[in-house]
Symmetry: C2
Subunit: 405 residues, 2 copies
C-alpha cells in the first residue's frame, strides 16, 4: 500500500473483520467509529476528552473548513492536526455531501459544482482538482475523493449518472493529487513558537506529509450500479481503502444492508471499508456484520446536544420529568467520565438550566458509547462469537420502547 | 473556631496575609479566587478542569438552586458536593444579592423578602430562617447569612437601614442554624448506587455535615456605617470568617478601596475575609493589598463566553480580526490547558463558528489566570515583596489599552 499506510486483518468472523489500519499519525483498531469534528472540533468536546474515552480517529470536513476559517489559513498554521490539537489520525470528507445538501443554487456540470455558501451566500466552485488542493492544505491522513451525491430515493438513471461521474472525478482527483505531491509538502512557515512551554503534548506536523486518497462507491440503492462502480474503481488503482457513500440518506434499512452485502464480494478483503455518515448503534452492529471497518456520524454529538443519551437498553431523553430525582448514571454499565461522576438528576438539571456542561457530558457519553460498542464487536470477532454477541446486543438494545427521537 | 474549620496566617506583608483556611472538604491556601458555579456548575467547565487548573473552592448560589432544581432535591441526592461532582470546599451565597437584583416585585419587610422568581414568575418568600434551611439542604462548607443588599449609590439612610437589618437577620440566621444543627444532618437516603464502578473519584458525603456561617458586613460607601457594622457583628460571636458585601455594585473604585482600608482595623486578623462578587484582576491585587483573603466573581467565565481573555498585558477580545492568523497562545506566559495546546487563530475560529469548545477554552483560561494571580500574590506575601510585585503586575497589566469590555 502507499507508504505510511497499512491494513492487517487479524481475524475474520463471517463477513466481519478485526483489523489494524496504520496511518502516519497512528493505528486504528477496527472496526472503529470516527468522531465527527466537522469544523475542526468535535462539537462540545475537547481533544483530551476524545483521547480519554478511547477515540482513535477524527473526521473533519473540507467544505466547512474551506468556508471557515479557510484551508489556506489552516495550512499556514501547520495543518489540521496542529490547528485542532489532535495528533491522532484524521480523515477529511471532500464536501461532496455538503455541496449537495447544504449549499444553495447549485449548478452541476462535468467540470464540477458551482454553489453558494450556506454561511454567507458567497459563490464558490468545487472541482475534483480544487477539492484535492483543499484537502492537501488541511493535511489529514485520509482524504476522500470529490463525488457526486444524490438523494436516497433517486431513480436509476440519476443514480447511474452520479455514480459514473464520481468515477470520472476520482481519476481527476488522482491526477491532481499526484501533481500536488510532486511539489512536496505545503509550506508550514508560521508554526507557533512554543519553545518557552515545558509541554510535550502539542502535536508536531509530520515532515513527510503523506496522505492517502479513498475512492467513494456510489450507485444509490441499485445493486448492479454499486457492483459496477466497485469493479470500475477497484480496477483503476491499488487503493488504501474504500468509501461507501450515499447510504443512510433516506433509503430503507433493508436496502442499505443489502447494498453492503452485495459490495462485500466486490471489494478486496485486505483493505479497510468505510461506510460514510452511518452511526446509530444498531447500524454499526449491522454494518460490522456485513464487513464494514470504519463508520462516522454526527448522531452521538447532535443527539447529545438535544438531550438524548444512548444506553444498553435503548435511548433515553434526559429532559423527561422521570429523571428529575434519578440518582443513577445515564447507563449503569457505562464507565465514561459522565457516568462515573454524575447522576441523571444532575444532567437533567444542567439541561433544564441551559448549562453548557450538560451538552458536553451527553456528547462525551454518546461518543464513548459507540467507541466502546466497536471495541466490543472487535473482541467478539476475535473470539469468533460475533453472531451471538450481535444478536444479544441488538435484542437488548431494542427491548425497551424508544423514548425519544 | 468551629470544629472542622481553621485559619492560620502563615505570613503577613503590610495589610496582606498568606493563610491556610481549613474546611471539612479541604484546605484553601489564601489569598484565593473562588470559581463561581451559580447553578451547581461553573459555566462551560467541568469539575475536572477546575481541579487541573488548581481551583481550590467553588461558590454556588442558594437563590438559584432553590428555584432550580430545588434545594430539597439536592439534599435528597446527598448534597451539593455529590450532586455536582466537586469534593473540594464549597461556599453558598445566601441569595440576598439575587433577591434584590434578579427577582421582581419585591416586598421587603422586617420578617423577610417576598419576590417573584426570575425564571417562571412564581411567588417565594426568603427569611433568615428559610435561607438557613436552604443552605443546610445544600450542604456547603461555608454558608453566607441572608442579608439586605442595596444599590451602590444608595444614600446614607438607606444604607444604615439595610446594614442594621442585616445584623438583625444575622442573629436570626444563627438561631435557626443552631436549631437545625440540633436535629442532626439532613437525611441522605437515596445516594446513587455506584458499587459496580471501580472508581474512587466520586465524592462521598461527609458524615458529620459541619457547616460554618459567615456574617456579611454591609453599609454602602459610608466608612462609619461599615465600621459600626463590623464592630456589632464581631461582638456577637466568634465567627469563622467575615463576608464583605455590597461592593463592586456601582460605587467608584476609590470608594471600594477606602472601605476595605477602614474595615481592616475592625476585623480580627486571625479570621479569613471574603470580598463578595469582586474578581477583576486589578481588583484582586488591590484587595489583597488591603487584607482580603477570598474573592469570587462571574467575570472570568462570563467574559470568556463573550470572547474576552485576560492576559498579562491586559484583556484581549479573541473575535477581533487581528487574531485570525495569530499562531500564538492567548497569553504567551500562561500554562493553562488552552494556552498549552491552541492558538489564538484556532480559538477565534471556534468563536466565529459558534463552537462550544471556544466557550470552554476561554472560561478555563480566565479562571486559571485569576487562580494563578492569587498564587503569585501569595508567593510575594510569603517573600515579603508584595508591594513591588503588585506595582509591577498592575503597571504591566495596564500598559496596553484595553481592547474590549
Amino acid at each position: 500500500m502507499i507508504e505510511h499506510f497499512s491494513f492487517a486483518v487479524e481475524d475474520a468472523d463471517g463477513r466481519a473483520r478485526a483489523g489494524r489500519f496504520g496511518m502516519p499519525h497512528g493505528v486504528v483498531e477496527t472496526p472503529a467509529f470516527l468522531a465527527v469534528g466537522t469544523l475542526a472540533t468535535v462539537k462540545a468536546l475537547d481533544p483530551e476528552d476524545l483521547r480519554e474515552l478511547g477515540a482513535q480517529m477524527i473526521l473533519a470536513n473540507a467544505y466547512h473548513l474551506h468556508l471557515r476559517p479557510g484551508d489556506e489559513l489552516i495550512r499556514d498554521l501547520g495543518g489540521l492536526h496542529l490547528f485542532m490539537g489532535w495528533d491522532g489520525p484524521i480523515l477529511t470528507d471532500s464536501g461532496g455531501f455538503q455541496v449537495f445538501s447544504l449549499a444553495t443554487l447549485r449548478t452541476v456540470a462535468e467540470d464540477g459544482v458551482e454553489f453558494r455558501s450556506h454561511v454567507d451566500g458567497s459563490l464558490h466552485q468545487f472541482t475534483p482538482e480544487s477539492v484535492m488542493q483543499i484537502e492537501r492544505n488541511l493535511g489529514a491522513d485520509v482524504i476522500m475523493q470529490f463525488d457526486h451525491v444524490i438523494p436516497g430515493q433517486s431513480d436509476e438513471a440519476a443514480a447511474r449518472d452520479a455514480c459514473e461521474r464520481s468515477v470520472r472525478w476520482l481519476q481527476r482527483c488522482v491526477a491532481e493529487l499526484n501533481r500536488l505531491r510532486a511539489g512536496g509538502p505545503p509550506p508550514n512557515t508560521t508554526l507557533p513558537s512554543r519553545a518557552h512551554l515545558p509541554t510535550t503534548e502539542f502535536p508536531r506536523p509530520t515532515p513527510t506529509y503523506p496522505q492517502s486518497l479513498f475512492p467513494i462507491i456510489q450507485g444509490g440503492i441499485y445493486d448492479h450500479l454499486r457492483r459496477d462502480a466497485a469493479r470500475a474503481i477497484r480496477d483503476l488503482d491499488d487503493w488504501p481503502g474504500f468509501g461507501i457513500g450515499g447510504l443512510s440518506v433516506g433509503e430503507s434499512k433493508p436496502d442499505m444492508y443489502r447494498i453492503l452485502e452485495s459490495l462485500d464480494g466486490e471489494l478486496p478483503r485486505d483493505r479497510p471499508r468505510y461506510l460514510m455518515g452511518v452511526g446509530f448503534p444498531e447500524d454499526l452492529v449491522e454494518g460490522v456484520r456485513r464487513g464494514v471497518d470504519l463508520f462516522d456520524c454526527v448522531a452521538p454529538t447532535r443527539m447529545g446536544r438535544n438531550g438524548a443519551a444512548f444506553s444498553r437498553d435503548g435511548r433515553l431523553n434526559i429532559k423527561r420529568a422521570e429523571y428529575r430525582t434519578d440518582p443513577r448514571p445515564l447507563d449503569e454499565e457505562c464507565d465514561c467520565a459522565a457516568c462515573r461522576r454524575f447522576s441523571r438528576a444532575y444532567i437533567r438539571h444542567l439541561f433544564t438550566a441551559d448549562e453548557i456542561l450538560g451538552l458536553r457530558l451527553l456528547s462525551l457519553h454518546n461518543v464513548h458509547f459507540l467507541v466502546r460498542l466497536m471495541r466490543g464487536a472487535r473482541a467478539a470477532i476475535r473470539a469468533g462469537t460475533l453472531d451471538a454477541w450481535s444478536h444479544e446486543w441488538l435484542a437488548r438494545y431494542h427491548s425497551r420502547p424508544v423514548t425519544t427521537e
